[in-house]
């Protein structure tokens, strides 16, 4: 573990430095003036010193001079902290031979830009200890991160019928839960105290290829846009309807699942007859599994299968997308010698499909059994 020494007469500044160093996973030592700082540096030989310019007892310039004159400390990288950003001061600091400088008050980006020059990127230590980033994720598991118990309850109630749900109350807890559950989808509240949704996303992304869904206050378009730019797959406005959250999470899960995984979930059997469940075209699943689906149909044909039931149980509305997806499937199956029948439990769906040129000559049955009988 690396050691960083922060030297500042302000407790607030030392606390800010310590807070911003958290993602680096290092030990933080504090000193309230130059004299204490030099003494601490001699004793602990830190990997980095963050040194305030203006301090009582011994100021930053004098402290730096003392450090540079000490053979044991002269190589320690020093970043100066200053309350002014004037050009003269910057030149003076540059002449002092330091690694960099940070103007106070600073925020995360400014701090990270300078400090990562010495310590490496934030979160690197944590990633080294975590499972490899390319280890597989479980697309049937979702992690929900929100500081509100009420939101967590609502999300769990909405999602637990379709996914395994893990919960975390803060960004920090999310990191731990993530490593434990390897969720395929992580739903993150953007506005959490301490580590907000942007920082949480940044730190989770190094750990695995999951899809991320943001929870954001309704109406703040700027924030929604920023979330998408930061890498969120989707943004769900709060308060959310259960259906909206489920749709976004499932779409996000589809986006990260490997085509074979998606396809596996679509195929089943009725007796000895393979059945393919037609996904809702809005989920874009078919577009993603395209080549894998062709391979699967060819494999089925090679294994001696000559029939396939297309189960339309999940389809409630016939759109041109549904029709063209079906036409494509029927043609692809026909191309390898597999005959198809459509199982449409919804009578209006069946009636509607029969009106389209592409699907009017297909075999239909209202149940799997009847569809199979039509094929026999």
């Amino acid at each position: 573990m690396k050691t960083v020494l922060t030297v500042d007469d302000s407790k607030v500044v030392r606390s800010m430095v310590a807070r911003h160093l958290q993602p680096y996973g290092c030990r933080v030592l504090e000193a309230a003036n130059g004299e204490e700082g030099v003494a601490a540096a001699r004793e602990h030989r830190p990997d980095l010193i963050l040194l305030d310019v203006t301090m009582p007892v011994m100021d930053g310039r004098e402290a730096l001079g003392a450090l540079r004159a000490d053979p044991a400390c002269k190589a320690i990288p020093v970043i100066m902290l200053t309350a002014e950003s004037g050009k003269d001061l910057v030149l003076e600091i540059a002449r002092l031979g330091v690694t960099g400088y940070i103007v106070k008050p600073f925020q995360k980006e400014t701090f990270d830009k300078e400090v990562s020059k010495v310590l490496g990127p934030p979160g690197a230590a944590a990633i080294a200890a975590a499972p490899a980033a390319d280890a597989p994720v479980d697309v049937k598991t979702v992690l929900v991160v929100d500081d509100s118990e009420k939101v967590l309850d609502a999300a769990r109630a909405a999602l637990e019928a379709t996914m395994t749900v893990l919960l975390a109350h803060s960004g920090q807890e999310a990191l731990e839960q993530y490593d434990r559950g390897r969720p395929g989808v992580v739903v993150i509240d953007l506005a959490m105290p301490e580590m907000d949704g942007f920082e949480t996303l940044e730190r989770l992304r190094g750990r695995g290829r999951s899809a991320y869904v943001a929870l954001a206050v309704r109406g703040d378009d700027g924030l929604h846009e920023r979330a998408r730019k930061a890498g969120y797959h989707a943004v769900v406005a709060k308060p959310f309807r259960a259906g909206n959250l489920v749709d976004s999470v499932l779409a996000a899960a589809n986006a990260v699942a490997a085509p074979e995984q998606l396809l596996g979930a679509l195929f089943g059997e009725d007796g000895d007859c393979p059945v393919m469940r037609m996904p809702d075209p809005r989920s874009k699943v078919l577009a993603r599994v395209g080549p894998a689906l062709t391979r699967r149909l060819r494999d089925l044909a090679e294994q001696g299968t000559d029939k396939l039931i297309l189960d339309l149980g999940a389809i409630t509305e016939v759109t041109t997308e549904v029709v063209s997806a079906l036409a494509h499937l029927i043609a692809a199956a026909g191309g390898v010698g597999i005959r198809t029948a459509i199982c449409a439990p919804d009578a209006t769906v069946m009636e509607k499909l029969k009106q389209f040129a592409e699907t009017k000559d297909t075999l239909y049955g209202p149940s799997l059994e009847q569809a199979r009988q039509r094929l026999d």
Binding site: V13, V53, P105, F106, Q107, A191, P193, E194, D196, R226
Partner: protein, 289 residues
């Protein structure tokens, strides 16, 4: 911290440049919080002696939600009429131009506080409680026109929401230290930003068009006796700040050290004040969310 410039003696312009520069530098977007345009239009009307009802109604009509809210306010038990107001003009006449403007500004300001999480919600509750508290105290003390007390009360801690919006991490660190250290949040803020939330709030409120005396009351609400001008309004806002804590809607770790007692209120008066404030707070929270 010895390098902080002393902001107490800074003039308004110098303070504004410092506050705007720092907040813009801290925020991810490089922007300083702005009040929605409807609120600034209403604030301009408050300061315009020739303002008329029609102009005010025109501003309100740009937002259907606002029309409904103003009608609901006029017809609420709190501002109760004998027969319900059916038109926007009726509603504005019932409430009065000034009160309508106050509600309009509050409704627009509410948007800013929706930004992020429980901290923002607490700050909003505190702002609304202090605004209504300041009005209540002005009525009781007759030291200030009650109509002039609402807005400085509403915006007295707007600097804190600006800090939160600019950089939530700094806000949390300071809030944490204020709980555990002896120093006040304002002193901790000065160490970090070089100015405190009262100074930031006064500067932003000035930019949004609040009257100079209201801005001064915001700037000095933690140390009313140091205010160069308008100590009465500053003291009133300070007392309203404390009153908000008494009804459970404090804005920080501790209530201000001076406040209600400096207004000469007995313990009984303070309790009566708190009871009245609880009622008006509940009514307005329902109205404004």
């Amino acid at each position: 911290m010895i390098e902080s410039p002393t902001t107490s003696t800074m003039d308004r312009e110098a303070l504004r440049a410092l506050v705007n520069g720092t907040l813009a530098q801290l925020s991810r977007t490089g922007e300083v919080p702005v009040l929605p345009s409807r609120a600034t239009a209403a604030l301009a009307l408050v300061r315009d002696p020739d303002a008329d009802i029609e102009r005010l109604c025109r501003i309100i009509r740009t937002d259907v939600g606002l029309v409904a809210r103003i009608l609901r306010a006029a017809n609420s038990i709190f501002y109760g009429r004998r027969s319900p107001a059916k038109t926007l003009q009726d509603a504005v006449l019932t409430l009065g131009m000034r009160k309508t403007c106050d509600l309009l500004v509050a409704a627009a300001a509410r948007q800013m506080f929706r930004a992020s999480g429980p901290r923002a919600r607490d700050l909003w509750n505190h702002a609304l409680a202090a605004a209504l508290g300041a009005e209540e105290l002005a009525r009781r003390t007759r030291s200030v026109d009650p109509a002039a007390a609402f807005l400085p009360g509403l915006f007295h801690d707007v600097g804190r929401i600006a800090f939160l919006l600019a950089d939530a991490t700094s806000f949390e660190v300071i809030a944490g230290l204020a709980l555990s250290e002896e120093e006040t949040a304002a002193a901790l803020e000065r160490e970090w930003y070089a100015f405190d939330h009262a100074e930031a709030g006064a500067s932003l409120a000035g930019e949004w068009g609040l009257a100079p005396e209201s801005c001064d009351a915001i700037r000095w609400h933690h140390r009313p006796d140091e205010a160069p001008l308008g100590q009465t309004l500053a003291l009133l806002v300070c007392a309203a700040d404390e009153l908000a804590y008494r009804i459970g809607y404090g804005g920080g770790a501790r209530p201000p050290a001076v406040g209600l007692s400096a207004l000469g209120f007995s313990e009984e008066d303070q309790a009566a004040c708190a009871r009245d404030l609880e009622k008006s707070f509940a009514a307005h929270r329902e109205l404004l969310g």
